[in-house]
Subunit: 309 residues, 2 copies
C-alpha cells in the first residue's frame, strides 16, 4: 500500500507533502513543458508521500490592500496534476475551490473520479473571500456529494489565524470530519503559538466528544524577501512581531526563514507529540523565484528529517 | 560592592529578585510581625540580589469586569521594606505609584532618601487606570525630580502586553532611560512571543539610536488555581490560548505552571542572549495561598539555576 494512504487510513503521524501551484494559463506550450519537467525532476528528487496542487483563485475581498503580486489564472489544477504530471507516480492532493464553480462542474468531476480505478485525493475549499455571492457550492454540499465517490479521500483546510480571531476552528474541523474529511492542511505556519492553540482546542474537543484525530499537515514556506513577506501577510499568514523583525533585519532573509521554520516546526511537533496528535508536513514556495524554490527543497529535507525523529 | 548594584552599574545579565506585596493595613500587630518574620525567613533562604516590594493600588478602571479578589489597602511599601524588614540586609526595590500621590508627599520622600547614606532603589509607576484625574505626578515629573537624589537608582516597568496593543513600548523604554531609568521590570511573563517581540523592538531601537541596553528583569509567578488565573488575566497578563488550556485542564495546575514558566523563560533567555540584551528574573506569588507561595520559592530556584547557565 502507498505510504500516504497507509498514513491516512491509520491516522499516523509523518505525512510528508510538497506543494506547488499550477503554471499560469498564459504560459505557452514550451514554457508549460519546461515547468512540468522541473516539477517532475524536483519531486523525484524529494520523493514525498504526495504532491499538493493548489487551486489559486483571485480574492478581491481578502483585504483592503492591493495584492502584492498580480493575480494570473492558472492551468486547472486537476488537469495539471493528473494529466500534465501523469508520469509522476505519487498520489496527488488536488485543491478544489468548490465555492467558485457551479454544481454541474463539480458533479461531472465526481463522475470522472468515480470512473477511475485509483484512489484520488482532494482538499475542498469554500468560496474565496469577497465572493460570497459566487455561483458555487457550499462546503457542506460538496462534502455530501463527494460521499458518492468511494475512491475519493477528502481533506480540508485548518486555519490557525482564523482560530485566533474566532476561537471556533476546532468546531469547524470536527464538523468537517463528520462530513467525511480525513485530514487537514494548514496554511504556512510562522506563528507557533497560534498553531499550538488550534491543536490544543482541537485535542480538547476530540477528547470531549470521544473522537479520533485526523492527521494535521502543517504547511511551511521559505521567505526570501520583503516582497514575499508582504504576499504572505496579504494571504493571511500571521507572523509574531519578533519573527517578522528577524526576517526584515536579517542579512540573509532566506536562510533565516528556513532556520525559523525549523524552530517553529520543532516547537509545534513537541506539542503535538505531547497531545498525541498525528501531524505531517507540507512544504511549498509561495514565490516563483529560483532561490526561494531551492530553499523550499532544503526546507523540505530539514523538516522531513525532523519529522522522522 | 553589592551584587545587585554591580549588575545594574555594569548592565549585566543575571539579576535575581524576589517580589512581595506588603501586608494588609488591617492586619493587627501580631499578624504583621508574623508575616514579616515569614518574609525574612523566606528571603534569607533564597538570598536573591534584591527584594521587590510592590505598591498595590485599587484600579477601578482596569477592566469592565469585577476584581476577582477584593482590594484591601496595604502597609506603605516604603515603610514595610525599610522599617519593618530593616533586619533583612539586601537591597530593596520599592515600587511607588507616583501618579497616586501629591507632589509634596513625593518631594518629602525624596528628601528622606537623600538624607540616608545608602543607595536606594525605586520603580516608579504612573497613575492607576481609571484614575486619570488623580492628584499625583506624571511619570516624567517624578523622574525629573528624582535626579536630585543622587543615591537613588530608579527603574521602570516594561509591559509586553501594552506593546502587543500599541507597538510603542520600546519608545517608552528609551524615553524612560533618557529620564534616568536604569532597569526595567516586566509584569508576569506567560506569553513568550509577546515578550520576545518587545525585546526585539527594544534591541532594534537601541541599535538605531546607538544606546546601550538597560537590564530587563522578567517577572514570573506560579498559577495554582483558576481563581489565580482569573486574577492574573484581570491584572492584564496575557496567556496564549494553548497555555491557558494547559493550566485549565491540568491535574496539577501549580506544578504545570512552574514547568510552563521554566519553558517560557528558556525561550526568552535564548532570544535575549542572541540579541545581547541583559535580563534578570523576579519571582513573586500573586496569591497568598501557602501552596502558591511555596511554588514561588521552587520557581525562583529553578529560574535562578537556568539564569546562571
Amino acid at each position: 500500500m502507498n505510504a500516504l494512504f497507509e498514513k491516512l487510513d491509520r491516522r499516523l503521524t509523518g505525512i510528508r507533502l510538497y506543494g506547488i501551484a499550477p503554471p499560469k494559463q498564459a504560459s505557452d506550450a514550451e514554457r508549460l513543458r519546461e515547468i512540468a519537467a522541473q516539477h517532475v525532476a524536483r519531486l523525484r528528487l524529494l520523493a514525498p508521500d504526495g504532491l499538493v496542487v493548489y487551486d489559486i483563485q483571485d480574492e478581491p475581498g481578502r483585504s483592503g490592500e492591493a495584492r502584492p503580486f498580480p493575480f494570473l489564472p492558472t492551468v486547472d489544477p486537476e488537469i495539471y496534476a493528473h494529466d500534465t504530471l501523469a508520469e509522476l507516480a505519487i498520489p496527488k492532493i488536488v485543491y478544489r475551490c468548490v465555492g467558485a464553480q457551479p454544481r454541474d462542474v463539480f458533479s461531472s468531476w465526481l463522475d470522472e473520479v468515480r470512473s477511475t480505478p485509483d484512489r484520488r485525493l482532494g482538499v475542498f475549499v469554500g468560496a474565496p473571500r469577497g465572493r460570497s455571492h459566487s455561483p458555487g457550492l457550499l462546503l457542506n454540499e460538496a462534502y455530501a456529494l463527494a460521499r458518492a465517490a468511494a475512491n475519493l479521500v477528502v481533506g480540508g483546510i485548518a486555519i490557525a489565524e482564523r482560530h485566533a480571531a474566532k476561537a471556533d476552528e476546532q468546531q469547524r474541523m470536527l464538523a468537517k470530519q463528520d462530513s467525511g474529511c480525513r485530514f487537514f492542511i494548514t496554511q504556512s505556519v510562522y506563528d507557533a503559538a497560534a498553531t499550538k492553540s488550534l491543536l490544543s482546542d482541537y485535542a480538547l474537543s476530540l477528547q470531549a466528544s470521544g473522537r479520533s484525530p485526523a492527521p494535521v499537515v502543517l504547511t511551511f514556506s521559505p521567505c526570501g524577501s520583503l516582497k514575499t513577506l508582504e504576499l504572505m501577510k496579504w494571504l493571511g499568514i500571521s507572523f509574531p512581531r519578533w519573527l517578522e523583525n528577524e526576517l526584515r533585519h536579517s542579512t540573509d532573509t532566506l536562510e533565516r526563514s528556513i532556520a525559523l521554520c525549523e524552530s517553529v516546526f520543532s516547537d509545534v511537533q513537541d506539542y503535538a507529540r505531547e497531545k498525541r496528535l498525528p501531524i505531517g508536513i507540507n512544504v511549498e514556495s509561495v514565490s516563483i523565484r529560483k532561490s526561494e524554490i531551492d530553499a523550499s527543497v532544503e526546507l523540505y529535507r530539514r523538516l522531513s528529517s525532523r519529522l522522522a525523529k
